[in-house]
């Protein structure tokens, strides 16, 4: 099975990050996976980190806050507001990593129906400056990288399809 590849652009001299990813699932399914907290916890956080959602209200005027907690007990907080949410189409939200307070990025998310039960997700992140982008993306990723490579190895060996079906974070391993 071919997996859809991520197209990532991190332009030099501009405070943006752009990405595109296609899915072999209908746009409504992908949108729902962004909206429902019990689905969000199954994919938004890197595995090996426990994700605890304080609230996640994916609608225009809503807000969110969640914690990623590593096996070492270190918690990474993320929060923001949903400025615009249009079902199966588009969302604008702010994003703030607790480790970089007040450095807030704007995230534009476009859901695009490709027909044939496929869709494309396009993300455009705008940071206050290029330095903020580099610094924030880097620190924000440290939590995500704790077990990133280990996870990648598993994915490459094909183990992911079997284990992730339960969608449960490995709560037993985590002391929060």
């Amino acid at each position: 099975m071919m997996s859809n590849s991520l197209k990532l652009t991190v332009p030099e001299g501009q405070p943006f990050i752009d990405y595109q990813r296609e899915f072999d699932f209908p746009v409504a399914d992908v949108f729902r996976a962004h909206k429902e907290p019990d689905l969000i916890v199954q994919w938004l956080g890197p595995r090996g980190l426990k994700m605890d959602i304080d609230h996640y209200d994916f609608r225009t005027g809503g807000s969110y806050s969640y914690l990623h907690t590593g096996p070492d007990g270190v918690a990474y907080e993320f929060s923001g507001v949903f400025h615009t949410v249009r079902d199966n189409e588009f969302a604008i939200q702010t994003f703030e990593f607790g480790g970089y307070p007040d450095v807030v990025s704007l995230e534009f998310l476009t859901f695009e129906d490709l027909g044939g039960g496929r869709c494309r997700l396009t993300g455009h992140s705008v940071y206050p400056s290029q330095e903020a982008r580099d610094g924030m993306a880097q620190s924000g990723m440290e939590g995500g990288m704790t077990e990133g490579y280990e996870r990648l190895d598993e994915l490459l060996s094909g183990a992911a399809a079997g284990t992730s079906a339960t969608g449960q974070p490995e709560a037993g391993k985590v002391r929060a």
């Binding site: 859809n4 991520l6 072999d24 699932f25 890197p46 995500g144």
Partner: protein, 119 residues
């Protein structure tokens, strides 16, 4: 990553925060150059350009050869590579995230009925 690495990384990002220094780096990516050559395109003094080069040198983004009179400035590609490492990390985390999303979509589709319930 230890503190020394972090400090060096901070120094490098700070060094690259300046547009003049970014243009110097961009010029050096085409090959070594003397301070005079580097100063040419800028409407600032050679002295000011020297200061910019010093900042880049402290961040280990460039080196200067001691032997020649001209003392040309060289790019330190290994250092620049370390700077872009975070982009690879970012990519890896995003890729992992979307593969997890694939798995979630697969399992909800397999479970069936969720679509009807929702709409």
């Amino acid at each position: 990553m230890d503190t020394g690495d972090d400090e060096l990384l901070d120094a490098a990002f700070l060094a690259l925060a300046d547009p003049v220094r970014r243009r110097i780096i961009s010029r050096l990516s085409r090959g070594p150059a003397t301070v005079n050559e580097l100063a040419e395109p800028f409407a600032i003094t050679k002295q000011a350009v020297s200061k910019h080069i010093q900042v880049l040198e402290q961040a280990q983004l460039v080196t200067r050869t001691r032997d020649a009179q001209r003392r040309p400035v060289h790019l330190n590609p290994a250092r620049l590579e370390a700077l872009t490492a975070w982009i690879d990390q970012y990519r890896l985390v995003r890729e992992e995230q979307f593969r997890s999303l694939d798995a979630v979509l697969r399992s909800t589709a397999a479970a069936g009925g969720t679509q009807e319930k929702d709409s």
